[in-house]
C-alpha cells in the first residue's frame, strides 16, 4: 500500500558554496504542499552535517541540490558519511541540479536513487518519493 505523504519526512540541503537555491526552495514548498514533513538545512553545509542531521531527524529521504558542477566530488563523500552512520540503505538519496547526462549513471552507481536535472517536475519527485518509501516499508528489514 502506498505510504501517505504525511508519513514521509524529507531532508533538503545544498552542499558546498553553491548559491543557486531557487530550485530546492521550490521543491521544499512542493513537498510541504504535498503533505510531507520538510527539513531544509539551507546552503553551505558539508556532507557530514547532512548525514548527521539525516540520522538525528530520522528522515526517509535526503534531497541534495547542486548547480555548481561539484556533484561528482561531493556525492561520494555524502554516501560515505551515510554509510558510516549505518543509514545508507534505508535513506533514499535524491540529487538534482545541473547534472550532465554522462554523470547520471555514475551517480546511481554511487547509491543515488533518483537524479532530477534542472527542469524536472516536482510532481515526478513526489511520485518517486511515495513509490520508493512505500517499497522500502513493505520490505521486511534484515
Amino acid at each position: 500500500m502506498a505510504t501517505q505523504p504525511s508519513n514521509i519526512k524529507i531532508l533538503l540541503a545544498k552542499l558546498g558554496l553553491d548559491g543557486h537555491d531557487r530550485g530546492i526552495k521550490v521543491i521544499a514548498r512542493a513537498m510541504r504542499d504535498a503533505g510531507m514533513e520538510v527539513v531544509y538545512m539551507g546552503m553551505r553545509v558539508t556532507p557530514d552535517q547532512v548525514a548527521q542531521t539525516a540520522l538525528q531527524e530520522d528522515v526517509d529521504v535526503v534531497g541534495i541540490s547542486i548547480l555548481s558542477g561539484a556533484h561528482m566530488r561531493l556525492i561520494p563523500r555524502l554516501t560515505k558519511a551515510l554509510r558510516e552512520r549505518g543509514i545508507a540503505d534505508d535513506t533514499i538519496l535524491m540529487v538534482g541540479g545541473t547534472i550532465p547526462e554522462d554523470d547520471v549513471e555514475p551517480l546511481e552507481k554511487m547509491g543515488v536513487r533518483g537524479v532530477f536535472p534542472v527542469g524536472s517536475f516536482t510532481t515526478s519527485m513526489t511520485e518517486f518519493i511515495i513509490e520508493n518509501v512505500s517499497r522500502g516499508r513493505s520490505t521486511p528489514q534484515a
Binding site: 558542477g69 550532465p100 510532481t123
Partner: protein, 540 residues
Amino acid sequence: MDDKNKQTKRSLSGLEVKPVYTPDDLANTDFARDLSQPGEFPFTRGPYPNMYRGRLWTRRQIAGFGTAQATNERYRFLLDHGQNGISTDFDHPTLTGYDSDHELAEGEVGRLGVAIDSVRDMDDLFLDIPLDEVSVSLTINHPAIVLMGMFLSVSEKRGVDWRKLRGTVQNDSLKEFHGQKTFALGPGPSLKLTTDIVEFCTNHVPNWYTISISGYHIRESGSDAVQELAFTIAQGMAYVESALERGLLVDSFAPRLSFFFGCHNDVFEEVAKYRAARRMWARIMKDRYKAGKPESMRLRFHTQTLGSTLMRQDPQNNIARGTLQALAAVLGGTQSLHVSGFDEAFDIPSEEAMRMSLATQLILSHESGVTNTVDPLAGSYFVESMTNDIEDAAWEYISKIEALGSGEYPMKTGILSAIDTGYIELEIARSAYEYQLRIESGEQVVVGLNQYQSEGSQKLELFQFDPEEEEWQKGRLAETRGRRSPADVKSALSSLNQAARDDKNLMPPVLEAVGVLASEGEILDTLRDVYGEYVDPGVF
C-alpha cells in the same frame, strides 16, 4: 469580439494585457512630462540622444573558469571574436571569500568561474590585456573590496593611472541575501563595505562604475519582472542614502552608479521594464535626492539573458530564446549585453556556445535593422501602457519597503529590515513556486518541456572541466604563502582589523594587505572576525 478576445490575458508577471490598446489608454500620459526626447529627462526613451546610431551596445560576454591563466586565454579568444569588454566570472570560493584550500571549497575551485586567491592570480588574469584600454567588469560582491584592491594594485604595478581605469565592480551587496546568495557578511557590514568602495573610487578612481545595481540575480532566483524592477530600484535608493549618510554629495557619486537587469521571454513586458526603470530612477534622483547633473539621473544598464529560461530539452531551442531576449534588451535600450549560452542547462558554456551568443549579438547589430532608430516602440499604445503599469506595480513594493524603514534614510533602513524579516526572499520564492506550478499544470507552455516534446535529444559537446586545476590552484596558493613575509601579513591584517573596529574606510588597509600577498580568504576571515559571518536562514 469573440470569446477568445474577452478572456483576460496576462503578461508573464501577471500584468493584465488587453486585446487592443487605443489612445484612451494613454489619456493620462503626457509626452513632454513622461517621455520627452531620448537623452532628456526623464530618460524614458534612453540615456543618450542617438543611442545605437552613435555607438552600438557593448558586447560583454561574462567568462571565467579554472585558473587565471585558462581564463586569460578565453578573454583573448573573446576579444579576437568581436567582444569589446571583459566581464569576469569568479568561482564560488572567490565569490564567498574563501581560499581554494578551504574545506567548503572542495570541487568548486575554478568550477563555475575563475579562482583568485591573491594579487598574483589577478595579475595572471589580465596578462597582456591593456587595463587602460579595455573596460573590465569585476563580478564580485561581498569580497568586492578585496578584488577591487587587487585590481588597483595590479594597475599601479603596471604604471596605469587609476584615473584612466574604466570598468565596473558589481559591489551590490544587498541583493546577495535574496539573489545569487554568495554572501559573506551580514546586511549592515556588507552595505558599509559597498559604501567604502563608492567613497574611495569617487575620490581616487573617478571613471570607475562603483556599483552595478542588480536585478538580474533576483530574476534568476525566480522573481517576476515587477519584483525585479522594484527590488533593484529599492536597492539603488538604499545605496544612494548610504553614500549621502557618509557625507558624499549626490552629484559626486551618482553618475558612476549603473544597473544590471535580466531579460525573460515576454518581449513587451521586458521593454516596458527597462523604460520604466529609466523614468523611475530619473525622478527619484532629481526629486527625492536633489541631483542636479543629468548624468546623476540617467539610468544605464547591462543585460544578461536569463539562464533559468534555458531548457535541457532540445537545447538548440535556447538559441531562439536568447535571440528573443536579446532583441527585447536592445529594444529597451541596453548599454551592454551578455547572451547566455544555449548549453547552460548542462554546464557552463562551451566555446561554441559563446561564439553563437556573440553571433546573435552581431546579427542583431548588423542585420536586423533594429539599431537604426532610437526607442522604436515609443508611442505604441500598448508599450506605453505597459510601461505605466509596471512602474505603478513596482512602486507598490517600494512603498512597502520604505514603510519598514524610519528616520532620515528610510530606504536604507527599510531594505535592511526587509532583508532581516525575509520579506524579499519569501516574495521571490513565492513567485518562483507559482511559476513552476504554472509550467507543471501546462498553463505556461514551455516548448520542448511541457508541450511539443521531441523524440530523443542531440548530444552536445559540453564544456570540459580540467579537474587537475583545483590541485594546481592549491599549490599556487601554498607557493604564494611561502614567498611572503609572515610578519608583514600579520601586521597588515591587524591594521585591517583595527580599521574595521574604528569604522574607517577599509580600502586603504585592504590595499596594504593585498600588497603583501595576504590571501582573499585571510582578508575575509579578518572581516568575519569583526563583523560576524552571515548564515543562510534557510527560509522557503
